[in-house]
Amino acid sequence: MKKPSYSSKRRLIFVFIIVMLFFVVLIGRLGFLQIVRGEELKKGALEQWTKGITIKSKRGIIYDRNGKKLALSISASTVWASPPDIKDPEKTAKEVARVLNLDEEFVYNKITKRVGTEKIKQWISNEEAQELRKLKLPGIEIVDDNKRFYPYGNFASHVLGFTNIDNDGLEGLENTYDDYLTGIPGRWIKTTDADSRQLPFDDEKIYEASDGVSIVTTIDETIQHFVEKAAEEALIVNKAKNVTIIAMEPHTGDILALTNKPDYDPNEPRLPLNEDLKKNWENLSQDELLEKWYEMWRNTAISDVYEPGSTFKVITAAAALEENIAKPDSHYYCDGFIRDIKGVVLRCSRWYNPHGSQTLLEGMNNSCNVVFVNLGRQVGKELMLKYTKAFGFGETTGIDLNGEQAGIVPASAENIREVNLATMSYGHGIAVTPIQLVNAVATIANGGNLMEPRLVKELIDEEGNLIKSFDPVVKRKVLSPSTSEAMLDMLEHVVRDGTGTKAYIPGMRVGGKTGTAQKIIEGKYAPGKYIASFVAVAPVDDPKIALLVIIDEPSAGQYYGGTIAAPVARNVLEETLNYLEVTPIFTEEEKEMMTEKVLVPDVRNMKIGEGGKVLTDIGLRYTTEYLDLTSESVILDQFPLPDTEVQKGSIVDLYLNIKEGETIIMPYLIGKDKSEVIEILNDLNLNYELKGEGKAKAQDPAPGETIDINRKIVVEFEGT
């Protein structure tokens, strides 16, 4: 038996020491990894083990001012698949597709994706959820989810807006108050294996979501209903393109109701309400659809500007009264024209039968442009601009909705030429938004304070506890209370005796002002397209509501603000004042008026001057509200029709044979004196430009030519 050598034993000991050293080093390495770097490595490991699922917070409710729910979240289930847990994809796909009425292949593709979780269908019905739960399919989960629900459908939709599929507010208050409404989403943390299946350990954590805050709006659901109904009716009756109505509480700036028709149902914001449109839209491309959607969602009341026309006269009058430039009984004379502006002749709406001598009050009643041009001149361009701006025109009102426009007013007094000042005084040549106008009227009504219009009063929690309350904001003082009072008196007269009598409610003290403006499309007055409007305040002794009705492009024949917008305002006001429990007080005169009736005579086919006289003689009033008449204009139609019994003092609308592109024969002017030429052209109501001095040398158009009455005439003179 050979013995191991001594050297072998030495080498063994040497190897042993080396090996032990290695092991000690490895223990050291383990200590470093497990203890020193332990936390860091654990973090990496935790990251890969844990999967977070967002728990949605419940979105806050939108209430009306009386606590009625205008928008709320209802629970609706969502179906999720966790593909790794699905044992039999074919069978599962078949069952799920059957219950949810989906395509089997679509479901199969979803549940076989290489992901941890996959959404199959959002917001299924309770019946579907129940049936699916009964099937107990492994890997198919039914999760409670929230869906936004607007119980009244297309109701205040431009105010409320809507949310997307993830409950993010996209439009309206849902958008502006999104941060409050959303709340803080929670998280469900669970650990999973490398294939995303949940681990059998008790280490899931749930961080509860904190629910969103509810908002209390200034909207009064009842008044909003009146307004919605009235707007819908006006849209249909007048075959209009759009109808906007805003009701505001003058003292607080609270928007009580706001609607634009047509609108949409926020429950289905991408579907038009009109069945025909629905069909049309099916063939549109995505880009075209987007355009249509944004048009449908556009809140005309704050995002569109228009020429206010005669309703703006209240601003001119308020400025004059506040500056003590005029009083309601100041005298003015209307001869039908403003002729002293070089190159233009401005006409009163009743130039063919001039108003003659009037007080300012009467001028307002008659909506006489001449009175207001003169008044505007008295105020002067600096003050005109100052008050226009003071009333909030040319700046956003600050209403809590997105997309508000500022409108267009002259940048400075220097920019206001003579003609601009003249037209501005009766509301032409500036652009305003509906919300600006109603806010300005509210300023007149509330004693002179320009308010910031608001839609939200308070934020409350689930139990109804107040979290935050917003106070009304006075932007600035514009008028003194006495001016406000005088203005309200004038507006009441407009409704009682003037162009606004269709808004008259017996026993109620309603003030208002009519407006009819020809639409400007691409910088030009568009023939046959009008905007009829009416602003109102009621009751004038204690204003509770300021109202604006705008009917855009009425196409059913009538288009005067006093004719089609005033009755709409009247209906809304009557219902609203009744709802607000304002007691009617009838004057003796009213009692008499209510009983005294007359039959409307037939004035059709009469010339305007003649027919007008017939009507005034029997105690009726009439309106044409049309700027481009000739004295030869013949009455084509009248409303009400002949032999209708009406109350004394009612207004008869007259429609004349004015057609667009009406023509005359160009007279011979060559060789005539300048004064002679002016006289001839003025008689024909033509716009002209005169060049040089002396006798007329050349004229354009040539004599005898048939010309449009709107065409500008150029006459050149040369000295002799």
Binding site: K2, L12, V15, L30, L33, Q34, G38, E39, A45
Partner: protein, 375 residues
Amino acid sequence: MAKKKALQRKKAVDFTLLMSTLILVFVGIIMVFSASWPEAMQDFGNGYHFLKKQVIAASIGLGSLLICMNIDYKIWKKYSLLIFILSLILGALIFTPLGREIKGARRWIDLGITTFMPSDAIKIGSIIFFANFLANKKDKISSLVHGTLPALIIIGVACGAIYVQKDLGTTITLAATLMGMFFISGMNMLHLIFMAAGAVALGFLAITGPENEYRLKRIIAFRDPFAYKLDIGWQAVQSLYALGSGGLFGLGLGKSRQKFFYIPESYNDFIFSIIGEELGFLGTSFVIILFMVLIWRGIKIALSIEDAFGCFLASGITALVTIQSLIHIAVVTSSIPTTGITLPFVSYGGTSLMVYMSAIGILLNISRHANLDRS
């Protein structure tokens, strides 16, 4: 009378070695059970699948250990050549229809009722044969012609038989084991230096060359595993995550998250990571200390036996355990590039467990013949 004399000479075995071995096997069974549960549930619907096989292997291994413990180790010297050739034949069987491929590697032979991994047999076979060779050539070991060259041929044949199975980890383990034995037996130091240079050159060849690209990748991944977290660095990173999340005390027995398919086949080449995750630094240190005790006793036995064959055989068996456990732990701790090596006694694997336990049986028998200060 002769029998009585024999009984008198039959001393007790090394108790410490036996105990540390049995504790390691026990820890192994528990950890294989824990680590294999998720995969066993997924693939077989039975969480005890791997546990059952490991317990059976451990029982057979224990029987084999007891038998080997009581067979005079000198019998192995007598049949050493036969054993070596048999083990090589077993290795060659892989390439016959009996060979069986599992998870892309052809390293098993199918015995009908179970599979068998011949590389484990080759390991022990070549150790016995090489111990015999070294004992026979004891005085000429330092000579080139009689010592180094034949030794290298034996090592080459043994390692070649494993290398053809495309199992570099095991090849290196065996090569290092046999070189260790050669070194202890008294190899020429000058030859060692040349061989070391040769090994470096071989190693370089093994990681370069187009067909060995995967080895180069492993080295790249080793240098910064987190940069290749999702592909080639995946295993290393997952192993580090397991160790790190274990911390000092561990997540608790059975509570590993990493065994849920983050570490594939965690009951095999990464069992030590799971030990680290579930039992913490205390657990890993305990296992390492058990190995240190086992190795200490093995070397003690080698030092105490007054027989060259016994000394080299004891050294070889101890070296095998040492090298393989060192490589496994080094891989798991990202101390060396990743290679698939099981942890002796602990990792799942029937053949390995039975062969290792038998080897310890042989070592225990050697201890009977040694003059140990048994305490």
